[in-house]
């Protein structure tokens, strides 16, 4: 059960006093500022996602090429470039 206090006020808040706190222009400015910040946050997240996707693709393709080359060394050395042949025979 949540705790609560009951208080008793002698008077209702007057309309004039409430009006003091009313400021639509300030609210609109705050809205613009937060919208801009939110947009920037989305932009940063998008860049990070793209970078992550790029890194993932690079990693997958690099490991795939590595596996492929380590599986077929003979054929590669037979038809490959002389320098490549030299490298593979050394390995």
């Amino acid at each position: 059960m949540t705790r609560h206090d009951i208080r008793f006020r002698r008077q209702t808040m007057s309309s004039g006093r409430i009006q003091k706190h009313k400021n639509y222009q300030a609210l609109l400015q705050r809205h613009k500022r937060t919208s801009r910040m939110r947009l920037m946050l989305y932009f940063i997240i998008a860049i990070l996602m793209i970078a992550l996707a790029y890194g993932l693709i690079y990693y997958i393709s690099a490991t795939y090429v590595d596996k492929k080359t380590s599986r077929e060394p003979a054929t590669t050395s037979a038809i490959g470039h002389p320098i490549e042949n030299l490298l593979f025979t050394k390995l």
């Binding site: 609560h4 208080r7 008793f8 409430i18 706190h21 705050r30 809205h31």
Partner: protein, 191 residues
């Protein structure tokens, strides 16, 4: 129990038009802000008993409303109920974060008005008793009573604000009233 009327069809159509306009351009939100500011401020003030905090939370409520106005789907619920729901969530969030007791600050003139409306034989000395008995209710029960009698909301709106079913809201209100009656009966028997 006194019946608080729902909005007329004309008023609902007008509200729908205002929402559509605000969804097109946030600058048009001005009219919604002007219409409901006092009501929401009073509600927040009643739940905080702190003028500056009420101003901050009211501002936060309207900011959230402005940010989400495009997502608002018109289902015949008045925009004021939607604003009350946001305000209620902001108030709860504040009290959870600060770990303070939830406050219900009730105005004497409004209590007297409710008593007059109930047309029951009330003595002035019963008001402090009422305050004492209200503090014995659960927070959920007093929240429903506050929305019902101080904010003059109908059960459909209360259900929407508190995100409960309409029958659940009615049950809470009647249970709270029964408890209050019971406390008063015990007190009468004692004296």
């Amino acid at each position: 129990m006194k019946q608080y009327p729902s909005m007329s069809q004309q008023e609902l159509t007008d509200e729908e038009r205002l929402i559509r306009l605000a969804q097109v351009d946030p600058k048009n939100f001005n009219e919604i802000y002007d219409r409901h500011f006092d009501q929401i401020f009073n509600f927040v003030y009643r739940r905080t008993d702190d003028e500056d905090l009420a101003a901050d939370l009211t501002s936060q409520t309207f900011l959230k409303a402005l940010q989400n106005i495009r997502r608002f789907e018109w289902k015949g619920i008045p925009v004021s109920a939607w604003l009350y729901r946001i305000a209620s969530n902001e108030i709860n969030k504040y009290f959870r974060a600060t770990n303070k007791n939830i406050i219900f600050s009730l105005e004497e003139p409004l209590i007297h008005k409710i008593i007059e409306d109930s047309q029951e034989d009330w003595a002035e000395d019963k008001v402090p008793l009422l305050i004492d008995y209200l503090s014995r209710l659960t927070t959920d029960e007093i929240t429903v009573l506050e929305l019902r009698f101080f904010e003059e909301k109908n059960f459909k709106d209360i259900a929407f604000i508190l995100e409960i079913s309409e029958s659940g809201a009615k049950m809470r209100a009647y249970r709270a009233i029964d408890k209050l009656k019971e406390y008063f009966n015990i007190n009468t028997k004692k004296s």
